[in-house]
Subunit: 478 residues, 2 copies
């Protein structure tokens, strides 16, 4: 049976989560592997998800006044070295171009791992007065970070992302931008991708190289692992000083502007897969699904069925991304196929439905069937898609709740880390030595963030027993 | 006077066309130079033009069934070498990554100059049966070709482009795709960018490395130079054989698919600048202009003027890309500024206009003023923009006509090449030795293409006197 085969090809997530993930990205035709170590091919179905993500986020950025630009992909070694913390953070994972046009280059060029340095060099040329501020730039591009172990979407040597880089008159304004963009990201995760996130500030140890503060949104995957979902950084005037960027302020004083950067990447697709997928395959949030509604004619050789299915497909295509499958494959095969591809909603239409002037809508999440009238079908589909979104969010929120524990002491912490996969809330003294110890003792549990909503769990650090400064959310990560 | 200054900053195109070009790209804030040799920074105003180009072309591609994908940016040396003509064509201008993550790589990686090899490697994995064909893929990405002399948009070491790569069951279908995509490009030039093009086939010497046939659209720049505006290639099954791509056809035979590729790049922005620009600055075709209509309040401190200007701006923004300049700069400065930026249409509104319930529309091309009623303004603006497009097209077509000559013999050819900058139509024997000789004797005149509409100018080759095979359009190029 063709429809059995599809499901059998996917390893159960309970058996082997990593293999389940690999099966999904291959079977759903999201990516293909390439002969280039650590690089992936994003196939049409995967890229269409990225295009939807881009379209929605880009509109949000522009609404807030951001403009897109394009910077060179190469960074001369001397430019990368201008800011000390930054180069220390990125140099180990750089890919270097050393030959151009058959000649050895006099200075090697790094393939951008991120573009703070290039933006700063440009900002130095174009910022002179407070009238030139703020500068709110963003770019959509590819970046390269040389990774030893790679996994499609989650960690690849090359990936696609957007990087916003902004410059402001005051610290206050720059800090507000950092938090405003974190809001854009967390809203996008929750309202577009139906994935709840923990929002917070990174510890000193986990900050971006060169940043004063790094903020993060951390969604939880189905297996309890965290994924760094998106980060925003406040740089103060550190880069501005290193790159000698100055402006004349309103009182005619020469000052350095305050800087931010923020980015999300194709890793988001990994988050979608691991937050929503199940043993039958991918489950896509309606807002970014390349196909939102699969129309499957039932008994399609019976008179009038295909005609009706085509008529519905045409009418609904005005509002939704619709795929009508009128191929010769069996109905069962089609059901499995679109389930596996994560299409949020299935519409079945057969001879009896037509007689009743109705059709069947089936949610990919709950598999609940509803019989709806063909009159007002457009509204019914819109409501059903909104419901799929809500079902997805509720399921992911339930997972986040179930897999979040509290640890009052170190014994409890270690026991939880060993027995349960998920987040652990625990108090922390603020010392990175405790982060190192926890990571060593647990084989990989790290501080995810100091959440904006801290709880008072106790007075002392769960690790060293010294007075606690913050509550931290801890977890394993991709 | 501020409004004088802007124009003075732009060198006249009659005095120094190259300097005029450089002045425009800098003053209109399209690009900035970077510290990376041969790479440009595309600034917001320049990138917004590219976004409009992308949006319109991408929709055309998708209408014809093409899907977007993303391939790795690195090509291992062994993969690039798989097709002999191709590697010979591109190896001299490759940038090579030799170090990754602080280690010398065992095989160096070329930063893609074009992606035929990567697409072929992928197609080998996913094409098995005629049911898998056609494959109609496209990608939007950056590519690198190491150039010795560079100029923004026209020739840079890194540039942005789209590359379509398709695979077909039959030669006929692949050849049809090659011509279909050439139509998309020539329609885009003529109907969107208002630039007339000469369409035709490249000679053997000017073909793409590895192609059986290369087709081209060749727009003429204001100074009579050509620009290779976009090319489509038919590859036969050469790459398919080199990469061992096979499929089972409808008769159960194993066959190689037939292949095409096609691309246009940010060079299009160079074509817009040089086909339409004038001594007052940029002139943008309405369809891709980031700002289509600049609204300038006249005597804006008089009661009611700013309110009215804002009201118009808001109403017109629903349909057009509008910029209202209510800054404190002088009206004259504003007029010059938006002229220089190439905004197709200016709307002036002052106290007397408001009294008359009218406003003034001014075309960037002809500077003709028209007084239009505020009732039905939306239609008047739409018509005025359409007229600007037509004016631009007519002016460029006139230039193409005036700068196209016919040469019946070699003396006439050499005289024309020396005295006139433009295209020369002349007969050709088909031998690339004559192309070489013409290039040497004229200091750079090359075959642009064998146009689809050939004329019978004579019976013998303009260069060697042997029997002529084709009429060729010759010219100097960027």
């Amino acid at each position: 049976m063709a429809d059995k085969k599809f499901v059998e090809d996917i390893t159960s997530m309970e058996v082997d989560f990593a293999q389940w993930y690999t099966d999904i990205v291959k079977k759903a035709e999201l990516v293909d592997y390439s002969g280039v170590k650590g690089c992936m091919i994003i196939r049409p179905y995967g890229y269409a998800i990225w295009e939807n993500i881009q379209r929605i986020l880009d509109a949000e950025f522009k609404k807030l006044g951001h403009e897109n630009v394009y910077m060179p992909m190469f960074i001369p070694e001397s430019l990368l070295q201008r800011e000390k913390d930054h180069v220390e953070g990125f140099a180990p994972e750089c890919a270097w171009v050393t030959i151009g046009g058959q000649n050895q280059l006099s200075e090697k060029l790094c393939v951008r791992p991120t573009s703070e340095t290039l933006f700063c060099e440009h900002y130095r040329n174009i910022i002179h007065s407070y009238r030139d501020l703020p500068k709110l730039y963003n770019q959509w591009c590819n970046v390269v970070r040389w990774e030893k172990t790679t996994r499609p979407f989650l960690r690849t040597s090359e990936f696609l992302w957007q990087e916003g880089h902004t410059m402001h008159e005051t610290e206050e304004e720059a800090r507000a931008e950092t938090l405003r963009m974190l809001d854009v990201y967390s809203d996008f995760y929750e309202k577009t991708l139906a994935i709840p996130v923990v929002r917070g500030r990174k510890t000193e140890k986990e900050k971006f190289a060169g940043a004063v503060e790094t903020y993060t949104v951390e969604p939880m995957m189905h297996n309890g692992f965290a994924l760094q979902g998106g980060t925003t950084h406040y740089f103060g005037d550190g880069f501005a000083k290193a790159f000698d960027i100055t402006f004349t302020d309103r009182e005619n004083n020469i000052k350095h502007p305050h800087q931010t950067s923020w980015g999300v990447s194709t890793r988001m697709i990994g988050a979608i897969i691991m937050a929503h997928g199940d043993d039958n395959g991918l489950v896509l949030p309606p807002a970014v699904a390349p196909v939102q509604l699969a129309i499957i004619p039932v008994a399609q050789h019976k008179e009038g069925v295909l005609e009706k299915a085509r008529e519905l497909a045409e009418a609904l295509s005005a509002k939704f991304r619709v795929k009508l499958d009128d191929s010769e494959n069996s109905t069962g095969w089609k059901f499995s196929q679109y389930e596996m591809k994560g299409v949020p909603l299935r519409l079945e239409i057969g001879p009896r439905d037509i007689e009743n002037n109705s059709c069947v809508l089936v949610s990919r999440v709950t598999r609940e069937k509803s019989f709806v009238s063909l009159d007002g079908l457009e509204n019914a589909v819109a409501e059903a898609l909104a419901k799929v979104h809500d079902e997805l969010y509720a399921r992911a929120a339930e997972n986040l709740k179930n897999r979040t524990s509290v640890a009052h002491n170190y014994e409890e912490f270690l026991k939880t880390a060993e027995e349960k996969s998920g987040f652990i809330k625990a108090m922390w003294c603020g010392d990175s030595a405790c982060e190192d110890k926890i990571k060593d003792d647990t084989g990989g549990v790290k501080s995810r963030c100091i959440p904006f909503e801290e709880e008072h769990i106790g007075d002392v650090c769960v690790c060293c027993g010294k007075p606690a400064k913050h509550m931290v959310v801890w977890g394993r990560q991709y």
